[in-house]
């Protein structure tokens, strides 16, 4: 397997309470990995260690390694902003920045001075809005506030905005849980389209969504990874009793 992210002996603590216990997993490149497990088992925490958002919470401690393309992102000489540029995040609730639709998409590109002139920025904004499947809906109102969009549109805007900084990995923490079914499908379709070019890691509570999206599955329970493997194997023939029970809906 061509692993894009490798997690080695990862332990994570909030205050003194351990939220991740000796996690060792590999996440395959350019596939969709789905993290599943009951509430409070550490899915969000694990995801946050991939873009170093975990350290934004105070009084936390982390030991072990997370390697992206073989580089430990927790090494002292690693620039955290570079990590977050490579590892993009689609949050649970869409959080449009308090500026126009256009400015939302251009924001990250400006941060990293990714384009030469206005024309290039404008083209890029259009390009990423098209990828996110939003361009047709907003092309006449680019300079309206982003908050004037519907929640589903906002989430697609957040996707466009995240893609605009050219990440290699997309993290999604229940990215469709705040959305209506049509908007959810829309986001799912985008993620499936994008998986050739991006490594995608999604947390979800819906088994059906997991089955629709997953190439690779990680099942967690109480801070531990119980089982991980290709979706066919985990869904078709779970090795562990707990995974089986969870998949049968016993949790």
């Amino acid at each position: 397997m061509d692993a894009h992210i490798q997690v080695k002996n990862l332990d994570a603590y909030y205050n003194k309470q351990q939220a991740l216990k000796n996690v060792n997993i590999e996440i395959p490149k350019n596939q969709i990995t789905v993290i599943m497990g009951p509430s409070g088992c550490g899915k969000t925490t694990l995801l946050k260690t991939f873009n170093r958002f975990f350290e934004l919470t105070e009084n936390t401690k982390l030991t072990g390694e997370v390697l992206v393309d073989g580089q430990n992102i927790y090494d002292k000489d690693v620039d955290v902003t570079e990590v977050r540029k490579v590892v993009g995040l689609l949050a649970q609730r869409p959080s449009p920045l308090p500026m126009s639709i256009y400015d939302n998409v251009v924001y990250g590109m400006h941060l990293h001075k990714m384009k030469k002139d206005r024309k290039e920025y404008k083209e890029a904004v259009r390009h990423y809005l098209e990828i996110a499947g939003l361009y047709e809906e907003v092309k006449k109102r680019m300079h309206d506030p982003a908050t004037s969009l519907s929640i589903g549109q906002q989430q697609r805007l957040c996707l466009a905005r995240g893609l605009a900084v050219e990440p290699e990995i997309i993290l999604g923490d229940e990215p469709t849980s705040a959305l209506d079914p049509i908007s959810s499908q829309n986001i799912e379709a985008r993620l499936l389209e994008l998986k050739q070019q991006y490594t995608t890691v999604i947390v979800t509570h819906t088994l059906r969504q997991a089955k629709r999206l997953a190439d690779y599955v990680i099942y967690m329970y109480l801070g531990e990874v119980i089982e991980s493997g290709p979706a066919k194997e985990v869904f078709g023939n779970p090795k562990h009793e707990r995974t089986k029970q969870y998949l049968e809906g016993l949790f």
Binding site: T81, E82, S95, P98, G108, T147, G162
Partner: protein, 330 residues
């Protein structure tokens, strides 16, 4: 909206159902409590109205004799000759307030950025009571401190420094040799209003949801980029409101300023000039020399001016702060 209101306000009695026995007294008690709270809330407003009205009545003798423009614009204050020009006092108040704000605001903003965005949770929980404590120190203590520390500092350090390096700028011209004056008053004021400005500004920073900061950070923004591009534009109106609140506090501050500002009724042109702010004028003179005709009315007129200005400042900042707190995010 109107439909839902009508649903909730529909009275069970009118629908022919007898209400539960406990409902009526409970509702009545609820309404009584609400009315009581309403009156208690109204009380300060009524009080301010009464005070303003009383001042107006007492100041009327002079307001009816001299046109307002003569009083506010007049530069000479000679009560014995019946000349009452408020301008030196108004200008003096403005000078001291502006110097105080200029000294206080930049560091206060930096401190609140630090507290809200960078400080550890422990520092933050410690900072709040310390700020409250600083805000609770009686002004007279600040005044004494100004006399003992700031006036000598202005005299021995600031004035010689200005004379040596800044003398060519008119507003830094050293005009008198005592250390008492606008700069001393401004420094004391700055220290007094700082806790207020910091705590209000800090609260305003807290109204910005974490999601916004995280959205920016997630795209690889640095902390400072996030603060500058996302947080500061959001809190700017709040910061302005905090400054206006500080200004109104500075404008009305009496005793601490009075002790260090010199109290000479001139129109200042330099920060080293003495000044005679409005509150000091009232505090120093009210109750004395009341035999002079219209003197009493003039002082109460000054009080009215002070009250109106401070009310306007406060109302403005309250309105802005309320808008900030209620802002829609999602």
């Amino acid at each position: 909206m109107s439909e839902s209101t009508s649903i909730f306000s529909s009275n069970p009695k009118t629908e022919g159902r007898s209400p539960r026995p406990s409902a009526a007294p409970r509702t009545r008690r609820d309404q009584a409590a609400r009315r009581l709270f309403f009156i208690m809330t109204l009380l300060p407003i009524i009080l301010i109205g009464i005070v303003a009205f009383a001042l107006l009545v007492r100041a009327w003798p002079i307001l009816s004799v001299y046109p307002l423009s003569d009083l506010l614009g007049g530069t000479v204050w000679k009560p014995n000759d019946g000349i009452f020009g408020f301008q030196p006092f108004i200008i003096g108040t403005i000078w001291v307030t502006i110097v105080g704000l200029l000294l206080a605001v930049p560091p206060c903003i930096l401190v609140s950025i630090y507290l809200a965005e960078y400080a550890h949770a422990r520092t933050r929980t410690l900072a709040k009571p310390v700020l409250d404590l600083l805000a609770a120190i009686p002004p007279v203590v600040y005044g004494v401190w100004g006399l003992l520390a700031i006036v000598p500092f202005v005299d021995d350090v600031a004035a010689p420094f200005a004379e040596r390096w800044l003398g060519f700028i008119p507003i830094f011209e050293v005009t008198q040799p005592t250390g008492f004056g606008i700069l001393a008053g401004g420094i004391v004021l700055a220290v007094m209003i700082a806790p207020l400005i910091v705590s209000v500004t800090f609260e305003v920073f807290l109204t910005v949801p974490h999601d916004l900061r995280h959205a920016s950070l997630a795209m690889g923004a640095t902390k400072w980029q996030t603060i500058r591009n996302i947080v500061l534009p959001q809190v700017l109106p709040g910061i302005i409101a905090a400054v206006v609140l500080g200004a109104s506090r500075a404008f009305g501050e009496t005793i601490a300023v009075l002790m260090v500002v010199g109290n000479v009724a001139n129109i200042p042109t330099s920060v080293f000039d003495t000044a005679y702010p409005l509150p000091a004028l009232i505090a120093n003179n009210y109750g004395e020399m009341m035999s002079i005709p219209l003197y009493d009315a003039a002082l109460l007129g000054a009080a009215l001016v002070l009250l109106v200005v401070i009310l306007i400042f406060n109302i403005l900042s309250t309105l802005v702060l309320r808008r900030v707190a209620r802002r829609k995010w999602a």
